[in-house]
Symmetry: C2
Subunit: 210 residues, 2 copies
């Protein structure tokens, strides 16, 4: 049996989760293309050659970040609305679940949203499929609320879903935990704005319901 050398003792299993998290953090701050494998390795306390024991190539990291973040948010959001019988309340629950998940994995979601174009075309297509699948979940929740008469029907579900995704997704780009609102407060604010609108309630009487 071989004795453990100093080299062995210094070894630290990097672990898939830590690797993805470090990659997402780096990709977020410098961008995927500008982020070097040397920088990433440095953040993990290893040399860039050692990185290739864990991954095939740099792009694998980006791909897995996109896949993981999208699969996770779809599962979480879908299961969170499944318990909700009131269609309008389901919209609120969806918004809360989306914000909580996206901001919990903020580096991964940021990277997924902004670096799609850096993937090879085959993998990009697969990620777009996952994104479409998640958008379908969101659209489904909207559509159900429209059919129940809870949400207005004069705007097609496609655009309603895009609007709410704009509102939610891109908050990741400016939200800072120390900036004031908590995640829940932000979700509540956006939820109210989306559903009730920005108009002063006292002004609503001037506009008759159709």
């Amino acid at each position: 049996v071989r004795r453990r050398s100093a080299q062995d003792l210094a070894s630290v299993d990097v672990g898939n989760g830590k690797l993805l998290a470090a990659a997402a953090s780096l990709f977020r701050s410098t961008g995927y293309t500008a982020a070097t494998t040397r920088d990433l390795a440095g953040a993990l306390g290893i040399k860039s050659a050692s990185l290739y024991y864990h991954i095939g190539k740099k792009e694998d990291l980006l791909y897995q970040i996109c896949v993981d973040s999208l699969e996770r948010i779809r599962v979480v959001v879908r299961s969170s609305v499944a318990d909700e019988s009131d269609p309008l309340e389901a919209v609120r629950v969806m918004i809360r679940a989306h914000m909580a998940t996206a901001l919990a994995d903020t580096d991964m979601h940021f990277t997924m949203l902004s670096e799609l174009r850096s993937l090879s075309s085959g993998r990009r297509a697969k990620v777009v499929q996952l994104r479409d699948a998640y958008e379908a979940v969101v659209r489904g929740v909207i559509q159900r609320a429209q059919r129940a008469g809870s949400l207005r029907q004069d705007i097609r579900p496609k655009y309603m879903a895009l609007a709410v995704l704009n509102l939610l997704n891109w908050s990741i780009f400016w939200y800072r935990p120390r900036g004031g609102l908590s995640i829940d407060e932000l979700a509540e604010t956006l939820s109210e704005l989306f559903i009730d609108g920005a108009v002063d309630p006292r002004r609503r009487s001037t506009k008759r319901p159709r």
Copy 2:
């Protein structure tokens, strides 16, 4: 006087506008860092060395794209709301002007929104200043409508402005002219959604104005 050679006749003044437009288009599709000066030169029908007669370095292009797009939208939006005396109508006008400008220069706005981090820290700070200045214009319009009692006052102008900018800015990422809605129709849809909300008007009676 020197005779014009074949070389001279083949020369085409690239022109600052065309250069920026080509750069923005390329940066949008491949990302700033991945876009090579060779690709850009190729798109202009010249060699990459010739590019350096027009610019100092690659980053200059990104910087000018950011500055131009932000200065332009601020001027256009501010002057469009200046004529409007009704504060709520000013919000609608702002939304239309923003969408029209951002989608007219869609490659430049896309690049400005997504490539800020690729600028040197000094230039990034200047662009952030310009972005803040534009956000201040938007916040001003919101604030005026709130003070006039046209918009709800329970959400701080900061978050109202961020919400409407989310809604507008990130539409650039998915809007396609051939996709259905015209720019005006999209602006109208987003404007109604922002102001009136997604709720069905018939449901409003259940919630008393405060």
